[in-house]
């Protein structure tokens, strides 16, 4: 599934998670990015892989940023699902570091699997040792990956890598690939303890 497209040259300018996502998306395919922000990822995928991209975004300021960046953006709330998008109409549907802030977590993953042939889900791993340390010390974790206080966090459904593996198993979702990174570097040893960001490529079984 790896792309042979020469994107390594530009990758250093971008986030490591973008580079991994770019390796999971095929050249010239149709991509839907949920919670696309200002369209940065879609721009990256368009310039490196000539994807046909659409973003979904709720926020007014981000919407204007997308329009400015020439990104197709559909303003809607992911909590309402993906009505308006046909079954299996996208090659890849991406939810990048938004899962933990969703209320309808289960529904959105199932909706993504309905609309996308493959989906990419990334989230901050709550099982990361620094989080565990802070919990052990009696405080809710605050870190670069989780920069909020318990009282102002948008993150309502934090989970660990093991939790998400179990979720996939339980929902008959096939894990095609899983990558875990910490500070921009891949983690292969004890990922649920040493990994800060979890990235999954999934499809329905």
């Amino acid at each position: 599934m790896q792309n042979n497209v020469n994107i390594t040259k530009n990758v250093t300018e971008y986030r490591q998670d973008f580079a991994i996502i770019a390796n999971w998306v095929k050249f010239g395919t149709k991509v839907l990015d949920l919670g696309c922000g200002d369209g940065e990822l879609l721009q990256f995928l368009r310039s490196s892989l000539e994807t046909k991209g659409y973003g979904v975004e709720k926020d007014d300021t981000n919407l204007i940023a997308c329009v400015k960046n020439g990104i197709n953006v559909i303003q809607m709330d992911l909590e309402d699902g993906l009505s308006g998008f046909e079954d299996q109409s996208f090659n890849t549907v991406i939810l990048s570091q938004t899962l933990q802030a969703m209320h309808n977590t289960e529904e959105i993953v199932l909706e993504m699997l309905r609309v996308g042939k493959e989906i990419i889900v990334t989230f901050p791993n709550f099982g990361y040792w620094r989080n565990r340390m802070q919990i052990t010390a009696g405080r809710m974790p605050v870190s670069k990956a989780l920069p909020y206080q318990w009282y102002d966090t948008p993150n309502v459904h934090l989970c660990t890598i093991n939790d998400f593996d179990y979720f996939c198993h339980h929902h008959n979702i096939e894990i095609l690939e899983r990558r875990v990174i910490t500070d921009g570097k891949e983690v292969n040893f004890m990922p649920n303890l040493l990994g800060s960001l979890a990235m999954y490529r999934l499809k329905s079984k």
Partner: protein
């Protein structure tokens, strides 16, 4: 509104078309006139033309004033002008009065060349498709092969949509605002009540009231009052008028609530300046428009040949052309993998919001329009 960045003094022009126009109904207009206004300068390669399609009661007078003394500028003056979201320093903007209108284009009030008398009831029923075809004739006459953009709100949005269907290679961008791919039953119902108010007015005379020297004022007034209720949201009305009284309760049927006062004022004003036959035709055009009809209700198929890039925009409090209707258009465009963005603007003003200078709304339009590429130097 501030007078800054006004396009200034403008003047309408009239285009005459002597080639017959066959209408969707099968009727033929042997010849017709369209009155229009333009703002800005058409560039050398004619790539910066933007057509504005008007809604039910709109006109070709989109921006600027006819004289310094005019109390009000054109109906979308907050959008169109130098430095405004639709920037006349960049674009050549065209406003046109639709066929069947009452502001100079051929319509029930204009003289039927065959009889030398006003058309009245004899003026044919015109449709959104007919309007777009006649607008295309106007572009031909202006030697414009392709529009940089077509923009419209409400019924104007239907025309913008129709442009992309009927003339896919003549539109680069379509901005479809507070619109719908067809009217709901409820919307048709509102239109029918409005028409009944007019048609049952004793002074309607089957539409030939001109020769009786009267106008069906009462009917038109009620039609407009009804319209105004539906253009506002319950919240906007509540905020603007609430249950405010002009004076004490009088236990009678004269104007007592501010709401009544507003409706009567709007009704009277409109009945004094608009033509009832035009109102009937505009509402009918709304009822009939349904591009999916020819495709067994499949809007995606109806839009499959479009080439334009789309910006679809709706307003949260608009219940007459609700966001759900705009999302139908967006879905059909997504099905066709069209280039489309959709904005759902949080606004309290109901359907009327599309005419308001809401900051966020205008920022979206400004951003989108500034990204539209037009050819090199302006002609001069």
């Amino acid at each position: 509104m501030s007078e800054n960045n006004s396009i200034g003094i403008v003047a309408p022009q009239t285009a005459h078309f002597s080639e017959p126009l066959t209408l969707k109904s099968g009727a033929v207009l042997a010849q017709f006139n369209l009155v229009y206004e333009t703002y800005g300068t058409l560039n050398a390669d004619k790539s910066n033309a933007v057509l504005i399609c008007h809604a039910l009661s709109g006109t070709h007078h989109v921006a600027g004033k006819y004289t310094e003394q005019d109390k009000y500028p054109g109906w979308w003056d907050n959008l169109v002008g130098p430095g405004k979201p639709l920037d006349t320093n960049k674009f050549f903007v065209i406003g046109v009065n639709n066929l069947g209108g009452c502001h100079g284009s051929s319509g029930p009030v204009s003289i039927n060349p065959a009889t030398g008398k006003p058309w009245g009831s004899a003026f044919p029923i015109v449709t959104v498709e007919d309007w777009v075809n006649s607008q295309a004739r106007l572009l031909d006459q202006l030697s414009i092969t392709q529009l940089a953009a077509v923009i419209g709100g409400s019924l104007g949005g239907m025309q913008a949509l129709q442009w992309t269907i009927a003339y896919p290679d003549r539109v680069r961008h379509a901005l479809v605002i507070a619109s719908a791919p067809n009217l709901t039953a409820q919307n048709i119902a509102f239109n029918e009540v409005a028409r009944q108010a007019i048609i049952t007015d004793p002074e309607f005379h089957g539409g030939d009231y001109y020769e009786h020297g009267v106008v069906p004022r009462r009917g038109l007034r009620i039609a407009r009052m009804l319209g105004h209720i539906t253009y506002l949201s319950d919240d906007a009305m509540g905020e603007k008028f609430g249950r405010k009284l002009k004076d004490d309760i009088k236990y009678g049927f004269n104007v007592e609530f501010e709401m009544e006062s507003y409706l009567r004022y709007q009704g009277d004003k409109f009945a004094g300046e608009f033509d009832a036959n035009t109102y009937l035709r505009m509402t009918r055009a709304l009822d009939y428009y349904d591009p999916a009809l020819a495709y067994n209700g499949d809007l995606s198929k109806a839009l499959s040949q479009t080439q334009a890039k789309f910006l679809v925009l709706s307003f949260t409090s608009d219940w007459r052309f609700s966001p759900a209707r705009s999302r139908e258009i967006v879905k059909a465009l997504l099905d066709n993998e069209s280039t489309v963005s959709y904005a759902e603007v949080t606004a309290a003003h109901g359907h009327d919001a599309f005419l308001m200078p809401d900051k966020h709304y205008h920022a979206i339009l400004r951003t989108y329009l500034s990204n539209i590429e037009v050819g090199g130097n302006h002609a001069k």
